[in-house]
């Protein structure tokens, strides 16, 4: 296992001096929002932004801001230069450095260092990322989790579909998982959010629970329910019908949620099932042709025990051996590669890897569960049908855990 980053200990002395010469008090200030959050006027392009007029600053304030920008950029490039060339962006240090009062020779030295590191990284990465993988055609269209927080179940369903060759229901996995508790409360208790502790652990737990029951086919319990009644609306409607004793509504809603249910099965569930086990009981009746869980063990690699570089290595190893790894990560990085916000806990499978000749960097294919659109994501990420190619330098900053079935 690798802890920490050995590159940080190879920085030359003059480079450290160039950074140390910066006025450090500049970093005490809080960054301010630079855009007004006002919708564009009708007919404007969506990308148009309304900016506030820049405030008048004193020379000292300008120096502070430039110092902060210099430092932020330097840190970002230092991290990124482990995986890609940063030559073009490093030139940006010149302007910030000049305004921050850093000696030009120091800045030039820093730029040279970053350039060398980046070039070495490109040579190394190109070699290690030489073999491309793209398993997405084997999985069909991406899923859409609409209003539920079942990213872990959808991800597990993709992994199981990949292994078994059958389209596995993510909803059935989630219902099975939720049945462990009073499921209706569990349904609204998010895994895919900051409220739940233990990133990525739930996917493993869901897999272990599925071991006993087996896997349900998507055709018997569809994961994406359509129309104005989204999946949890339908589940809540079933609950209400059960409580009120309205058999017709109960039957109609149950059939709508799980089309393969038989009339007598629904009535039996209505008669015999407890409130807590209601959906689970329906799911058990609907999923008649269950697929046995493959005899594979989930291996869970959390960032608490593995360095980011080791986690990426686990992804590489899994892809190279024909396995589909899944990751827990903050979904902010899909929308803005530079975002410093890492709040949301999301899960997706990694279904490919290639060398991006334009970016000159290794990129990984994330199969998201937000539907097939690509406009919403950071335009710098290549995206097709809801699959997003994320650069290694971005992924390494966000990956919280990796799960592989071996």
């Amino acid at each position: 296992m690798i802890f920490g980053n050995s590159y940080l200990f190879r920085v030359p002395l003059w480079h450290v001096l160039a950074v140390a010469l910066l006025p450090w008090q500049a970093f005490a200030g809080k960054s301010s929002e630079c855009v007004d959050r006002v919708a564009p006027a009708r007919g404007h392009a969506p990308s148009s932004r309304v900016s506030r007029p820049p405030p008048k600053l004193t020379a000292a304030e300008r120096k502070k801001i430039a110092s902060k920008k210099y430092n932020d950029l330097y840190r970002k490039l230092l991290a990124d230069s482990q995986y890609r060339s940063v030559s073009a962006e490093a030139e940006g240090l010149k302007a910030f450095g000049a305004e921050a009062g850093v000696h030009p020779n120091g800045v030039a030295g820093v730029i040279q260092l970053l350039r060398n590191r980046g070039n070495e990284a490109v040579a190394r990465e190109r070699k290690s990322c030489g073999k491309s993988f793209d398993y997405s055609p084997r999985l069909g269209p991406v899923r859409n989790q609409d209003s539920v927080g079942w990213c872990y179940a959808f991800t597990l369903a993709d992994q199981m579909s990949f292994i078994t060759g059958k389209r596995i229901s993510g909803a059935a996995i989630a219902v099975n998982y939720n049945s462990k508790y009073r499921w209706i409360y569990r349904l609204f208790e998010p895994y895919c959010g900051e409220a739940e502790a233990g990133w990525g652990g739930t996917e493993v737990e869901a897999a272990l629970l599925s071991w006993k029951s087996g896997l349900c086919l998507e055709s018997q319990f569809p994961s994406e329910n359509n129309g104005p009644g989204r999946i949890y609306d339908k589940i809540v409607a079933i609950e209400k019908a059960r409580k009120s004793g309205n058999a017709d509504t109960f039957k109609a809603c149950s059939l709508n949620l799980m089309p393969s249910l038989k009339h007598h099965d629904i009535m039996e569930v209505l008669r015999t099932s407890s409130q807590e086990e209601l959906i689970k009981s329906l799911s058990d009746k609907a999923c008649t042709n269950r697929v046995p869980m493959p005899p594979l063990k989930p291996r869970y690699y959390p960032s608490e025990l593995f360095s980011p570089a080791s986690l990426i290595q686990k992804i590489d190893e899994a892809l190279a051996s024909g396995k589909l790894p899944s990751i827990a990560y903050p979904s902010e990085m899909l929308f803005n590669a530079d975002s410093s916000i890492r709040k949301s806990a999301h899960a997706s499978s990694v279904v490919g890897r290639k060398w991006d000749t334009k970016k000159n960097e290794c990129v990984y294919l994330i199969r998201n569960s937000y539907g097939p659109g690509c406009q919403q994501y950071d335009r710098r990420h290549e995206c097709k049908n809801g699959h997003i190619w994320i650069p290694k330098s971005v992924l390494v900053k966000g990956v919280n855990s990796v799960t592989v079935f071996r």
């Binding site: 960054s31 895919c192 409607a237 803005n336 539907g371 406009q375 919403q376």
Partner: protein, 139 residues
Amino acid sequence: MLRYFVSLLLIALTTSAVAEEKKHKKCEESKIRIETFSEVKTIEEKICYGEEVVNFTSLSCKKQKCSAFKFPKRFYISEFLGPMGTPGFKLCREVGGSPEIVEIFVGGLWYRTDRCLFKDGFVDTDSLLDFYIDREPQL
């Protein structure tokens, strides 16, 4: 000087119009399949789509003139990331629409996607996000 300014303005307007046209260039009669509580219904309606079929609008929303594009506020994406569901569905509700998963029939194929439905039209949630979202300030 004035001629120069007017020329520049014209070029800018034309470029913007061409870009917009490119985004939702084709409008044609299509089928939309929606599942409700009691039935799967298929409606026929004109939809407009661009390079990607899944980025589509109703004819009324083609030039961003329907109520889908009139909400007087922009958002940061982080406001919609967690804890439940997709950011597109959340944004749709926030701006007064009703999200739903649909299938649209274009060029002999069914595409499974979603839309945000308003009283005077609809747009897919992906395009809606693109319209309303400010990315977090970049470095």
